[in-house]
Amino acid sequence: MEGSLVQEFKKGLWEEIPPFRLVLGLCPVLAVTKAADTGLGMGIAATFVLVLSNVIVSMLRNVIPNKVRIACYIVVIATFVVVTELVMQAYTYPLYEALGIFIPLIVVNCIILGRAEAFAGKNPVLLSAADGLGIGLGFTLSLTFLGSLREIFGAGTLFGQAVMGASFEPFTFMVQAPGAFVCLGILLGLMNIVEAIRTR
């Protein structure tokens, strides 16, 4: 229970970085990382929901009866997801179109419910906010990185700008579903190697 704000924030960036170390929320990770910008957009949307739901759940943690806590968490999360959806529809319509069904599906993203249940339901508001921000930022970084990688090799562009030169033959396999699995697998493996060397 005793942890500094910085520590709670930092753990989301390496030790518990989703999806690579927690290996949670893989469905949107595989689906929206066709390009760097959709990955970034999805990450920001999820972070927004994560921070706000963590704060509210933490504020209400002494009021919510234990037996209906999951139902309460889901209501809180779903509310912020719909808010995100409406706001995206109003201001960033192309991104809303690109992410499609994966925006409403943030409701069932286990990272968010997981943080509410495992952290925000037991910790004070500021710590929960730091936890949400850290994990959310980690999620955003992972998605943007994976998206960049797949976009560079799969389409030869990064955020829509050509980066590989005219002679580059795009590797379309990378932007399709199997490419997502292969990329994610390689990254997971690399992170495990780095972690093994670090802790030796």
């Binding site: 209400l60 009866p65 037996k67 309460c72 509310t79 719909v82 529809q89 109003a90 179109e97």
Partner: protein
């Protein structure tokens, strides 16, 4: 007993607060969302249908309280009428009409030549048809089959005795589009004066 009461009250309070917040956000972003929908979905369809006109139909849009044909509620609802002008005279009007397809309502932009009273073309806006089958109603080949249809007869696919080539394997979606076009024709006929008066050059 007390525990149950507490559960009910807390959950009800949270859901109530959530409902209030969502209603507020929905209301607050309504106009902006409508604008984006116009810009990214309806806009391109209208521009394509009314290609060749000399004005900007999206800027000249008029909102009209109309009773859509076949709407049993009897309540007039706001409809956007997009006028197109050629040689300083009204050439055509376009508006959106929807009808049920296979996966849900299909929104169709219908462009009507006001002098000849025939269809210039159609554009598909929102739909939930199956990708690769029903979703092919968006394809130009299918939509071109509607150009030049007169208002006299019913708009139907060939299997039903009409003149429109249905997409093979997606008859229900094709019928939905035909129905939307028929509804648009009826609506236009029933409200012709009001529509034409609203878009006078």
């Amino acid at each position: 007993m007390r525990e149950i009461l507490k559960m009910i009250i807390v959950l009800a309070a949270i859901t109530g607060a959530s409902g209030l917040l969502l209603a507020g956000v929905n209301q607050g972003t309504k106009d902006q969302r409508k604008k984006q929908l116009l810009q990214f979905v309806k806009g391109p369809a209208v521009t394509e249908v009314l290609a060749g006109c000399e004005n900007q139909p999206l800027d000249d849009v008029k909102e009209l309280e109309l009773k859509a044909s076949g709407d049993d509620t009897g309540v007039a609802s706001a409809m956007d009428i997009f006028p197109a002008y050629k040689n300083d005279a009204l050439w055509a009007v376009a508006f959106e009409m929807s009808a049920g397809g296979y996966g849900g309502d299909i929104g169709v932009i219908v462009g009507i030549d006001v002098a000849k009273e025939e269809l210039i073309g159609i554009g598909i806006t929102t739909h939930k048809e199956t990708p690769g089958l029903g979703a092919r109603i968006r394809e130009k080949g299918f939509r071109d089959g509607f150009a030049g249809l007169g208002m006299g007869g019913a708009v139907e696919v060939k299997a039903d005795g009409g003149a429109v080539d249905a997409i093979s394997g997606a008859t229900i979606s094709s019928r939905g589009v035909c129905e939307a076009v028929s509804k648009a024709f009826d609506t236009y006929r029933e409200n012709k004066e009001a529509i034409l008066a609203s878009v006078k050059p």
